[in-house]
Symmetry: C3
């Protein structure tokens, strides 16, 4: 009698959204996948994640070809993923290697396999052509496993289209309105710059000699002290973002400011729901569990209680319509989000054309 599994989401017969497929999406935190497999939906496709006998993580199509049960709700037996319904077992190549029923005939077909890479404490999944799945394309988040850094982190399922979530990070000016405790006016009043570099999009925020918010000031132990601070967001298609936040005594060289690196990764479950995986690290107060717990609670509150409701509601108010058809008013802060949306659209168009 285990704990109840959460229901598979309701899905239409055909995908309702259009997605970039040849790219790495974050599937989950690597340590979220232990002995127990996971059932997930990415890009409206059910996926089963499991580790084989050597601990290697695999991702195969999540619907059993026999009676459509969710393989990700199964168990691992002798290194193979056993269907929870009638016990067929599949290995990491998608092959059925065990049929417990009389005759034991093994079916010819294979489950679709999704390339899966374990890197930077994350599992990265490739939802497109496996031949193109080059691990070198995975963005560098090596600070997530670097012992000099200690990260607080989380993962949740969020309502709203994933591009609304990446827009949110690229336009940090929202923080002043949505996260009053976390960030002060600096991201609105500071200098901003947006640019594209190859297939990445960058948003930079610089604010010199200003007071930090209570949240960030407290986190850095510099409450009430004026600081120079610098923020840079780097967007990787389709929606994996690095946020480089630095603060220091006025006049400190940027590279010598205290850095708080963050990950914000958004993986579409459906056009209306998004897996949100996040982390923020520090290189001070290492091993301080109380500090980490407070930092984690503050960030989780900001993302789940402040960002998510407003993005959910904005998504609903779009009423299923296309973003550009709604003719959004463009403000200065949209320089990053607009570049990312256009880049992603070009990449999807290019992929569809080939």
């Amino acid at each position: 009698m285990g704990e109840p599994t959460s229901p598979v989401p309701k899905l239409g017969a055909k995908p309702a959204g259009t997605y970039l497929r040849n790219c790495w999406y974050v599937a989950c935190w690597a340590d979220a996948l232990g002995e127990k497999p996971l059932s997930r939906v990415f890009l409206e496709e059910p996926v089963a994640l499991f580790r084989d006998g050597d601990g290697i993580a695999h991702a195969i199509a999540g619907r059993c070809p026999h009676r459509f049960a969710p393989l990700g709700h199964g168990t691992v037996v002798d290194g193979a993923l056993m269907c929870p319904y009638h016990g067929l077992r599949f290995d990491g190549s998608g092959a059925c290697i065990h049929n417990p029923h009389p005759g034991g005939h093994l079916p010819d077909g294979r489950q679709q396999v999704y390339p899966l890479e374990e890197r930077h404490a994350l599992l990265w999944i490739w939802m497109g052509d496996p031949a193109k799945a080059d691990p070198a394309l995975i963005p560098d988040f090596s600070w997530l496993t670097d012992p000099r850094w200690e990260a607080v982190r989380g993962a949740t399922l969020a309502e709203g289209h994933y591009e609304l979530y990446s827009d949110n990070i690229l336009d940090l000016s929202h923080a002043n309105f949505v996260h009053p405790a976390l960030v002060a006016s600096a991201f609105v009043e500071g200098e901003r710059r947006f640019w594209q570099d190859g297939e990445t999009v960058h948003a930079e925020y610089v604010r010199l000699d200003d007071t930090l918010s209570e949240g960030i000031g407290g986190m850095l132990g510099r409450l009430g002290q004026k600081q120079d601070f610098y923020g840079e967001v780097v967007w990787h298609a389709p929606a994996v973002l690095y946020f480089d936040f630095r603060a220091g005594e006025p006049g400190t060289a940027r590279q010598e400011c205290t850095l708080l690196p963050s990950l914000h990764a958004f993986t579409p479950e459906t056009p209306d729901t998004t897996h949100y995986i996040w982390a923020t690290a520090r290189d001070f107060a290492l091993g301080n569990a109380e500090f980490a717990s407070g930092m984690r609670a503050a960030l989780e509150y900001a993302f789940q209680q402040e960002d998510m409701p407003i993005i959910r509601d904005s998504h609903r108010l779009m009423r299923g319509q296309d973003f550009w058809d709604l003719r959004p008013l463009i403000l200065n802060g949209d320089g990053g989000g607009v570049r990312a949306r256009r880049m992603l659209q070009r990449m999807i168009d290019r992929e569809s054309a080939s």
Copy 2:
């Protein structure tokens, strides 16, 4: 860290219903709108309600033109409604008067403005052509602010089409079956009369020398005493109803009977959901909080626990079909509802034609 806002309802790209637009709908109780704005959906349109620096209430389109956030979840700053997401501010004319972002360029466009009138302790909204929004068309509910009367009141969101809710009030015979504690058999057995007067529809119930229900009898302090009683419902398009209930010693002139005036206002949120705003007043036991609390509890129970479930289920059993296509059986008690439905249909047709 405020209390969580309730989610915006899910809406289709186009309205699913057809509505009368050039008329006054009740938006909410006037005192429900304080310093904090409100986010509402009327006729499938998101609306933001707020008070400016002078306390004047305004209604503007509830979706921010920038990133579609719900303006009604924002805050009022210097008398203007500030978007909760990126801080644009709008005044009561729908103009964007402040852009906190670098450059501070103000967009040319304006948010749609809905005429809003504060009258009789209610906010009345006009969802049609502003040029036609004549406050003189607001029905008279002055007893709601008359110090000789003290009202108990409520507001809730109810499942079911708003016409089913106005039908319910126009056919008071339901009370005998749905509200056994509140009203006895009088509304079934008494004399009824239905008529139309201009664009209002009237339903009258007269019952002489009969016993009041326990609920009403107790409320009037006349438990077990025979009474004459009179009920008149007045319907104003599309679904604002006045209920004039009077009871007195047998033989008392109607005008001298004790009056309990009621408001029942129904404003469609969607074709399937309705804002239900109600009040009942008395001119006795004024200032008696315990009495008021009991009266309010009894009425709220009747509306929310007795009317709403049966109307919700009747609505569901209509399976999205047109009322007349279902060929309803017409009983004597339908004289009011049928007149109101036909009148409303004529008014909608006339409006569509022009």
Copy 3:
């Protein structure tokens, strides 16, 4: 102030599924229908169940022809079903026999009547042509009322298509994976045979000299003892199943083994939801309430916490598509389910053709 009634399910204007109509479906346990009527949806049609003054159970169309209220949420007055909304009363012939409103005119039309038979402690409903409703077609579950047997039983509403639920019982091999506490490996490893006999489908499982599961072993007081055991499932269209389970000392003649007879009846509410009615009986430990309570809890857990989630998820993963269009892999254990599906399809086709 009674307990709140559960909402009528949301239904489309037209049925979304295709059903066999000329057959007996289980409506509910006979004793679930007492003085209080019941509101149910079968085959996407609202039905009201009630007992008249003689205690005879009737089923009529569940939507009042007046204002579409759910008749099954009404009350029985003088042996007739009174609408909860405006008090029309209907007898078991579907005729409106009382109109409490002035004039009291009785409408000509009748509510549709569904043949209803009380047999084997169950109410059986015929959703097709009443002229063809032959009670002799009701499968024999007389052990449910035989005093030599004592049954534990239940009824619940389950998510998923009803054929997935009958497949589940026909392929008992699932028990080894889905109900580890209840049944051991015998249903996978034992000998199986599937056949059709007229319009019934049979699945047989035989396993000699093997250990019972903890659950079944404990229930029979034979924990750890080797047994011969025999299982036979008999399917009646569209989804009423008898499960004959026997166990005894190795070498015992099959007819002399201890029998645990079970009923599994599935009645579609909609294409996505199913009424699941079940019972298992024993002829020992009669009157032992503690034993019965433990047995009931174990079975309810198995059906509601183990079967239902996996069938709900399999149903969702079918994404509204046709079973055969999904080209399911056929295993040995599917011999019963596939026969039943084909038989049912033939019967539906035949019915549609005539």
